[in-house]
């Protein structure tokens, strides 16, 4: 029976897939060539873009008398430039002949980039990218003009990854700006950026950036293949791509790093990673990634290395606190009473005397309230956000303790846990850790410290079993690689970062000349 069921499932699955793809492609199923007859072309275009008020289809006469047609999307092109550099020469130039598009591009159009189009599919794509198309009667080749101009925000400081010291430019939505920002940082022609279009409806441009001869060729191939496999109707954010290409979809841990920072993306490129940029998303994806890179912040590399190393260790400590503190507290309070020093135990017991809940329920309640407050503060308009934290954090917390609903130590524990989780520099990693607190809390409530230990072992087994694009997630700690630990256990100074990480930069190991440690004897005076 199971067999029949599965077969049926599989069949219906396949049918469904084929049907949707067909439906989505339907309009483009007839990749018609442009016709010589302008009238016919106009009809087809009208049919494609019916009920689209933002489409401008403007007929005109060229100076030699042929009918012409210009199609563009209002708001996506620079109309001034069209007027001055396209329509003016076309309508005024005396020696214009419309039967050869090449001569028009070469001699008449005073704009930087123009390409020829032959099919309606190309035409549609160009138009939607903001390139106006001009067609002439009697010519089956159109011309697309790169005069796109659309509203975008300026390149400004990344909101989610702030630094005190470091560059302030972050990626923004248009892909073209983002790739330019990458080029600005890495000027070598070995920086390659390939693009492809993903999304049957959205036709989103997705770019894969890598540095040739640094990134492993199999990695690039794997990334491309995974991207090519995607068949969705739209890609609205790089998160959509991330979910389609990661190795372990059920894992709570992010296996692909996302960053808004151009310097972070560049540094990963230089270590042999692949960066995936998605048009319309300011978040670049970096693959492969490891658990430890989620614990690193860009600023680590710009501050003095001793300080960065200390801060890294603090982060590991806070990681452990964020994950286990509430469960440890519950375990100590309900199972291991001797763990707490006597004086502290007495004061906790005093505080808990009137609390109606068992410790685990109390912890669970407070943790949930904390998560709600965090979420509410995050989504609300900027003006209301602080009010929520004041009402939630101060008033509820204080009142709940005074009213004897929760105990003061519990509020402290929850607050410390919350703050610790914010010390993890990657927001998505912080969330994963915060969510894993809850199962640990239950385990602690069931079996005390043994439960916590079992939970932690489970988490670590899971972490050791996942890979990101072939790289073990816990590398370089497990499997151990002592030279790569230079960027995990500590942050070695720039002059000692002579080699690239083994698992991504093996093909081009040395990144700088060795023995560059500065010292007074090497100073410039001589």
């Amino acid at each position: 029976m199971i067999r029949r069921f599965t077969q049926k499932m599989k069949k219906s699955n396949q049918n469904f897939k084929e049907e949707t793809v067909k439906a989505l492609n339907e309009k483009e199923e007839q990749p018609k060539e442009l016709s010589i007859d302008l009238k016919q072309n106009e009809e087809v275009i009208h049919a494609i873009y019916d009920n689209s008020f933002d489409i401008v289809i403007r007929p005109f006469s060229a100076s030699d008398g042929t009918k012409g047609l210009m199609i563009y999307i209002d708001g996506l092109c620079n109309t001034e430039e069209i007027n001055e550099n396209v329509l003016t020469p076309l309508m005024k130039d005396a020696e214009l002949t419309t039967n050869n598009i090449d001569t028009i591009i070469e001699q008449h159009l005073t704009i930087s980039e123009a390409t020829k189009v032959h099919t309606f599919n190309e035409l549609i794509e160009e138009v939607s990218s903001g390139h106006p198309i001009i067609l002439f009667d009697g010519n089956a080749t159109g011309c697309s003009l790169s005069v796109e101009q659309f509203e975008m925000r300026s390149v400004d400081e990344p909101e989610a990854e702030q630094v005190v010291r470091g560059p302030r430019d972050g990626f923004i939505e248009p892909l073209i700006v983002n790739t330019a920002l990458l080029r600005l940082r890495i000027k070598s022609p070995r920086l390659k950026i390939k693009t492809m279009k993903i999304g049957i409806q959205s036709r989103t441009n997705v770019a894969i950036a890598y540095i040739e001869e640094v990134a492993d060729s199999t990695l690039i191939e794997e990334a491309e293949n995974r991207l090519k496999r995607i068949e969705v109707d739209a890609v609205l954010e790089s998160g959509n791509i991330e979910e389609m290409i990661e190795d372990h979809p059920y894992s709570p841990f992010p296996q692909i790093l996302n960053t808004e920072r151009t310097d972070v993306a560049s540094s990963y490129l230089l270590e042999g990673h692949v960066v995936i940029l998605v048009d319309g998303s300011p978040m670049a994806l970096v693959a492969p990634t490891t658990f430890y890179s989620l614990m690193q912040s860009a600023e680590d590399y710009y501050q003095r290395f001793l300080i960065s190393t200390t801060i890294r260790w603090l982060r590991y400590l806070f990681l452990v606190i964020a994950l286990t503190l509430p469960s440890l507290y519950v375990a100590a309070l309900t199972y291991h009473h001797e763990m707490v020093p006597t004086a502290l135990m007495i004061s906790i017991a005093t505080g808990r005397e009137q609390i109606p809940f068992p410790a685990m329920v109390e912890a669970f309640l407070m943790e949930v309230i904390f998560e709600v407050l965090r979420e509410a503060g995050l989504r609300l308009p900027k003006q209301i956000g602080p009010a929520v934290s004041i009402v939630g954090g101060l008033i509820i917390g204080e009142a709940a303790v005074t009213a004897g609903i929760v105990s003061a130590p519990m509020v402290i524990v929850v607050a410390v846990t919350g703050v610790s989780s914010f010390a993890i520099p990657r927001y998505n990693a912080g969330i994963s850790i915060r969510m894993l607190r809850f199962p640990l809390l239950f385990l602690a409530g069931m079996l005390g410290l043994l439960g916590i230990m079992v939970g932690l072992i489970g988490i670590i087994v899971h972490l050791s079993s996942i890979r990101s694009f072939g790289v073990p997630y816990l590398a370089p700690m497990a499997p151990a690689n002592f030279s790569d630990m230079k960027d995990v256990m500590m942050r070695v100074p720039k002059w000692a970062q002579n080699t690239r990480p083994r698992l991504t930069g093996e093909s081009n190991k040395n990144r700088q000349s060795p023995q560059q440690k500065p010292s007074p004897e090497r100073g410039g005076e001589s």
Partner: protein, 396 residues
């Protein structure tokens, strides 16, 4: 059949099994015990009744919710019950309490002298075996009823137990943990010694309802039975010989001058060097003591090297006298090896030890003891000459 699909379904089944196991676990919480369902025992006292029953008393913390704006404080009270064994008494005790007894935070055990003279092994076993209590509990013997000791409400600490633990940690008196005592019981060449504690009588300047504790005497044991109690001076001597003395003060009146000088001991070290020559067993006690002068009520000028040398000599004699006096009582009269002489012989002369193993107590009384005492006086404190004396009266 499609392999992939089949796996998927199996996967789902497995998830189901996993979830049901989790639900099973959720119904668990077998050992869960909320902190406010516990009666936290700080100290336990054991006495023996006239009928031969164990009388167990415990000092329990009661957490008091403070009044508004006021920090809740901890208070303790004493509850007791009798039974045939300690555990028996515990269960009777438990019936009197609305909360579960919790032994994990215990710090002291007080035994009555009657109990100690009967033998303590059986009762101590509970505290060594039970998984909650630990071997670092301090043990005391008292001549009074342990309940009375617990009932004392000291000025400085919250509870009797806390007071005792702090006293022990200072090492003002002897400092013996369950482990130390059990180790001595187990050892062939050493007898146990426990500090004794008593409540202090009322005195001027103290609040009426509060009593303080003092523990500067000691009880000597032969195997697990108490034999004799010794007074404060002998106890100090025992502590010197056991190398447990810390922060002691010695006062002596130097020969060449009038008045007293008090010294504070910074460091001391005592070693036994056993020696068997022919039939005589000898112990050389090597003691080293480093001191500072804290009070100079004499007319001695401590800038003078000779004076300091002389003081060092006198200090050595004083220490030796103290030890001799102690040995006289403990070795000659009581014949109880609480210093571990036997253990040192055993370590150096295992074969000879084998012969006397069973008659060690008699042999112990015959051991000759020599002393080699080295004393160093480091500094004279912050003033060198005696303060408040005219120049002429200072002895140089």
């Amino acid at each position: 059949m499609n392999h992939f699909q089949c796996k998927k379904i199996l996967h789902r089944c497995r998830l189901l099994i996993f979830l049901s196991v989790l639900t099973l676990l959720l119904s668990g919480c077998w050992d869960r015990q909320e902190i406010n369902d516990l009666a936290i025992v700080l100290g336990a006292g054991i006495d023996i009744t006239d009928e031969g029953l164990i009388d167990l008393s415990v000092e329990i913390v009661t957490a008091q919710e403070g009044q508004e704006e006021e920090q809740g404080g901890a208070q303790t009270y004493v509850e007791s019950a009798t039974g045939q064994t300690v555990v028996d008494a515990t269960s009777t005790l438990q019936q009197k309490l609305s909360r579960q007894l919790f032994w994990g935070q215990m710090e002291a055990i007080i035994m009555s002298e009657n109990m100690a003279r009967e033998g303590v092994h059986g009762s101590l076993d509970f505290f060594a075996r039970q998984p909650q209590t630990r071997l670092r509990n301090y043990i005391y013997v008292t001549e009074e009823n342990p309940k009375e000791v617990f009932a004392a409400t000291p000025h400085l600490e919250v509870s009797t137990t806390k007071t005792l633990a702090e006293l022990s940690e200072f090492q003002a008196g002897l400092n013996v943990t369950t482990l130390d005592f059990l180790r001595a019981l187990e050892s062939e060449g050493e007898h146990g010694v426990l500090p004794m504690v008593e409540t202090l009588p009322q005195d001027a300047g103290k609040e009426e309802e509060q009593t303080d504790l003092m523990g500067n005497r000691a009880a000597l044991f032969k195997r697990d039975k108490m034999i004799e109690s010794i007074d404060m001076d002998i106890t100090r001597g025992v502590m010197w010989l056991r190398d447990e003395i810390e922060g002691a003060t010695v006062t002596l009146s130097p020969e060449r001058s009038e008045g007293l000088i008090s010294m504070y001991m910074i460091r001391s070290d005592v070693n036994f060097k056993p020696q068997i020559q022919g039939g005589t067993w000898k112990i050389l006690v090597e003691a080293k003591s480093e001191d500072d002068i804290f009070q100079n009520a004499s007319n001695l000028d401590l800038k003078e090297v000779d004076n300091v040398k002389m003081l060092e000599g006198e200090l050595a004699t004083q220490i030796e006298d103290r030890m001799r006096e102690t040995l006289e009582v403990v070795q000659q009269d009581l014949q109880l090896d609480v210093f571990g002489f036997g253990e040192t012989f055993r370590r150096k002369y295992p074969e000879k030890w084998d012969e006397v193993r069973d008659q060690w107590d008699e042999k112990f009384a015959e051991v000759e003891v020599d002393f080699d005492i080295e004393t160093i006086i480091h500094r004279p404190g912050l003033s060198s000459e005696p303060t408040g004396l005219p120049e002429g009266e200072v002895e140089e």
